[in-house]
């Protein structure tokens, strides 16, 4: 049975008090807290198994390599990938998007082509494409967003011309929590001959995600938003695509052979197998081990249960926010079309004021653009406060959050 109170016992940080109040952590869309199982896995790795991976014969290196490869396998199972060859460890979602931009986009996009993304994207799914478009001369197009924050299907379909070679879309908006129908988008894109890249940073930690069910070509997500350490993330890519792609970074580990030809005074290089071709240099081994522990923790809870818990919390929060007349909530009101992320503003305060005031109650939320300035422009707001929930949050915490907001409303 899913019991958030029992889950909380695994998170040492939740015992902290901030400004003399018990910590309420509602900044989960930015990063999640870590259970003791993950902390212990990291500690145990450094205490017992630490060594560099691959191409060594000593015992510690073998142990570290086995753990590192097992982490790839765990992630592959978690998202329904065919095998660990389709799982590339990167620093996070941002690096995964840049990897696809430069390893695939640089070699496959040209003047006259188009990349279709949307106005609800995180900057990390906009900026790499804009940068690359200046180099390669292709066009970046943006599907519009409806006034309630949902993706305009009409705009998406209008923009999905035969020139579009790649559709880059977020699964869940990091501002509104809107869940996009990626399966339908992927079907439309594929019928049109385009590949589909899915930003799963806000979906993989919070709901069951299966790459075959979504039928996406690439999926990126970050370990730190799903109980894992910072600095480790994942790029899933369909094997045949990854095999054809050029490496992103060059260095050790990603090569099979570098042989010097004295006559030509050049080196001939052959790439390593997947996924190592994309993992140049010493990887974040410990991060991978920590992430594996995080994934095992989430699997034990059951991702359907995680989703149901967050839906229930969001439903409760949305209903209780209606008691606050000076609060405007952005995005859809129907919790069935969104995840546990609620953006809002309080009349008379800017978002940073709200975040600072809630901090004095021990409540951690985020304020600003949340790296999604185009969506804020669309909503015609200078910034927003954002509360986001996870497995260890409770209804009582939401009630305390609402009571704090009521006091803030009355402060004016």
């Amino acid at each position: 049975m899913f019991d958030p109170y029992k889950i909380r016992e695994d998170f040492p940080i939740l015992k902290r008090k901030i400004n003399n109040h018990p910590l309420i952590y509602f900044d989960n869309a930015a990063t999640s807290q870590k259970p003791k199982q993950v902390i212990e896995a990291v500690k145990e790795f450094y205490e017992k198994h630490n060594a560099n991976v691959h191409r060594a014969v000593h015992t510690l290196s073998m142990e570290a390599t086995e753990l590192y490869e097992e982490a790839h396998e765990e992630i592959a199972k978690f998202i329904g990938a065919e095998s660990m060859e389709e799982i590339v460890f990167v620093r996070g979602t941002t690096e995964a998007i840049n990897l696809v931009a430069y390893s695939w986009g640089l070699h496959n996009l040209k003047r006259g082509d188009e990349v279709l993304t949307s106005l609800m994207e995180h900057h990390s799914n906009i900026v790499p494409w804009e940068i690359l478009s200046k180099i390669k001369g292709f066009k970046v197009k943006y599907a519009d967003v409806n006034p309630d924050g949902t993706l305009s299907q009409e705009s998406l379909e209008e923009n999905l011309t035969s020139k579009v070679k790649l559709v880059c879309i977020t699964h869940v908006s990091n501002v509104t929590g809107v869940v996009n129908d990626v399966k339908t988008i992927a079907k439309l894109a594929h019928e049109n001959g385009a590949l589909v890249f899915v930003d799963g940073a806000q979906s993989v930690p919070h709901m069951p995600v299966d790459v075959h069910e979504l039928n996406c070509d690439f999926l990126a997500f970050s370990g730190h938003k799903m109980l894992g350490p910072t600095g480790i993330g994942i790029l899933y890519g369909r094997r045949e695509l990854l095999e054809k792609m050029e490496p992103f970074h060059g260095g050790g580990e990603m090569i099979r052979e570098v042989s010097f030809n004295p006559e030509k005074q050049r080196c001939t290089i052959s790439w390593n197998d997947l996924p190592w071709k994309f993992e140049a240099g010493t990887p974040n081994i410990c991060g991978a081990v920590g992430l594996m522990a995080a994934v095992k923790y989430l699997r034990a809870l059951g991702m359907e249960n995680v989703k149901a818990h967050e839906c229930a919390l969001t439903d409760h929060a949305m209903k209780r926010l209606e008691e606050c007349p000076k609060i405007t909530v952005y995005g859809p009101k129907d919790v069935r079309s969104k995840c546990g992320i609620i953006p809002f503003n309080v009349e008379g305060f800017n978002s940073h004021d709200v975040a600072l005031l809630l901090d004095s109650y021990g409540i951690m939320i985020r304020s600003g653009f949340h790296c999604a300035q185009p969506l804020h422009q669309k909503f015609k707001i200078p910034s927003s406060a954002r509360a986001s929930f996870y497995i260890y949050n409770t209804r009582e915490e939401i009630d305390r959050f609402i009571e704090a907001l009521k006091e803030i409303e009355q402060a004016l």
Binding site: N350, D359, S367, H376, S383
Partner: protein
């Protein structure tokens, strides 16, 4: 005391917040926060106070919201340096 030394003495961190408002968030050093707040309140004009927790201040045309938890928001600044200059004057 130089402006740099004054800032070093009282301020733990200054960050430009994202959002169109171009606000600058200031975190005072925990052990120095009460002294910093007291110094700022002496020099800036208190426009409004909420239960001694929040102070809406103005100083040389700038709007500042000061929190007794040891944080402050400098509103609509051009850049972080401008907030630092104002802070150095207020904390002297």
């Amino acid at each position: 005391m130089t402006a740099g030394a004054t800032l070093e003495k009282y301020i733990a961190r200054i960050e430009e917040a994202c959002g169109e408002e171009k606000d600058v968030i200031v975190h005072f050093k925990y052990e120095k926060k009460d002294e910093a707040i007291s110094r700022i309140l002496k020099r800036a004009k208190v426009e409004r106070t909420v239960a001694g927790i929040i102070f809406d201040l103005t100083y040389k045309g700038f709007s500042i919201r000061l929190y007794n938890t040891g944080k402050a928001i400098f509103k609509k600044m051009k850049e972080k340096n401008q907030a630092q200059e104002v802070l150095a004057e207020l904390l002297l």
